[in-house]
Amino acid sequence: MQKIKTGRQWQSVIAVLGMVGVLLTGCGDGSGGSSGSGASSLSTSGSGSQGQGGSTARFTIVDNYLYTLSGNTIRTFDVQNPADPKESTPVGVAWNIETIFPYRDYLFIGSETGVFIYDIKDRASPTFLAESFHVRSCDPVVVQNDLAYVTLRTGTFCGGNTNRLDILDVSQIASPRVIGSYPMSAPFGLAIDGPNLFVCDGTAGLKLFNVVDAKTIKFVSRASQLTCFDVIARKERLYTTGGSGIVQLDYALQVFSTIPTGQ
């Protein structure tokens, strides 16, 4: 399962990594609200760049604030002093909110009935801004360059009978609109970094799409044996979780290593 890269390949990877880092820092637009800082620390005690969770996360951190989803509520904690988290007033959203994704000054909340957008210019108090309803389904959402990518999936725990990926234009943040829609098998977690869009698509495997323009994505390749329910794309590396275990890959879907899991 392991693939060792040669020195030359590594050089190109590092070069690409550097460029991506510069680009991300330049537009201040990282996925996971995080990948901007180029600082790297080999110790958790260092002040390295903020890490990131997957698209199915219900906890997320923006600056000194922790946001959690549970039941029908967003809870906000000022964690500047981690030993003394200060909670602001909880905000009610809707039933069955599932996922939270930070983008610039906004939180994108995926629910069973649609995507909710909350303004967090004031980090301590998320304020409702907009919603985009869709058919009943599960829907993790990720955002980059004013485009939101949402997977709608039928079956397990979610209901509905739809399996597709929607692209939402969120340049007018208060009025998101669907501008593209692509059929999928059973999509769940997803990740985006630059032109690379990764989708955990049930038993069809982990798929890589190329974002051609705002409305258009093009299928590039897939790791058909890899079953995952969520994926993180960070600094030219993918991390997946699910039935195939914890798998690390490069952006061309070449597997580095696999940590096996029981189920």
């Binding site: 964690v79 981690p82 979610c158 690390q248 290593s257």
Partner: protein, 194 residues
């Protein structure tokens, strides 16, 4: 008469089918009626109305036990059921569903190094800021200082802020828990009638 027998037989075959796939298939949303028995495969079928469900008594973990049970098991521990993940420049954090968080050093993607496992009952979600790990543990939020890992410090526990879910650790959809009493603690399993 023959037709009635045939219908009864078909009904039994159907029921047997429903019961046999209960344990294996994931639930789906079916818009079940407001009353009467419903298919246990339906996510929206309440436990006490499920066709072919089994009554069982909850097994509790007391709140005192819950709130003193976070501890580190150093080194490589098997992941039972991979849940959500979180990654920073050096470390990969893997939730083991309802059990806790595994930590790996992923500096070398070809051979991630297992550093240890933090047992956290009822843990599903996680986020990390610097050397601080934020996790849920059933109804609590727990803040864990990892600075001196594998030694850890619970910096803070915010109690009773997430919803109490009696079925959080019950994967078997055919189980109906009887006499759930949240005052006794969180539910970590069940004991079935003989």
């Amino acid at each position: 008469m023959k037709r009635i027998l045939k219908n009864i037989l078909l009904g039994m075959v159907f029921l047997a089918g429903v019961v046999s796939i209960v344990a294996t298939s994931p639930p789906i949303y079916c818009n079940v009626a407001d009353s009467g028995p419903c298919d246990p495969l339906c996510e929206d079928c309440p436990p006490d109305r499920r066709l072919g469900y089994f009554n069982a008594d909850p097994v509790y973990l007391s709140y005192d036990a819950l709130r003193t049970s976070v501890r580190v098991v150093p080194g490589e521990q098997p992941i039972k059921k991979a849940g959500k993940i979180f990654v920073d420049d050096t470390y990969l954090y893997v939730n083991d569903r309802n059990r806790g968080v595994h930590i790996y050093d992923h500096s070398d993607p070809n051979s991630p190094k297992a550093l240890g496992f933090i047992e956290i009952p009822g843990n599903v979600d996680l986020a990390v800021k610097g050397a601080t790990l934020f996790v849920d543990s059933f109804i609590d939020l727990v803040v864990i200082d990892l600075q001196h890992f594998p030694e850890i410090t619970i910096s803070k526990r915010v109690t009773d802020i997430f919803p109490y879910n009696a079925y959080q650790m019950i994967d078997d959809r055919s189980i109906h828990l009887r006499n759930v009493d949240p005052k006794k603690g969180v539910i970590i399993g069940f004991s079935k009638d003989n």
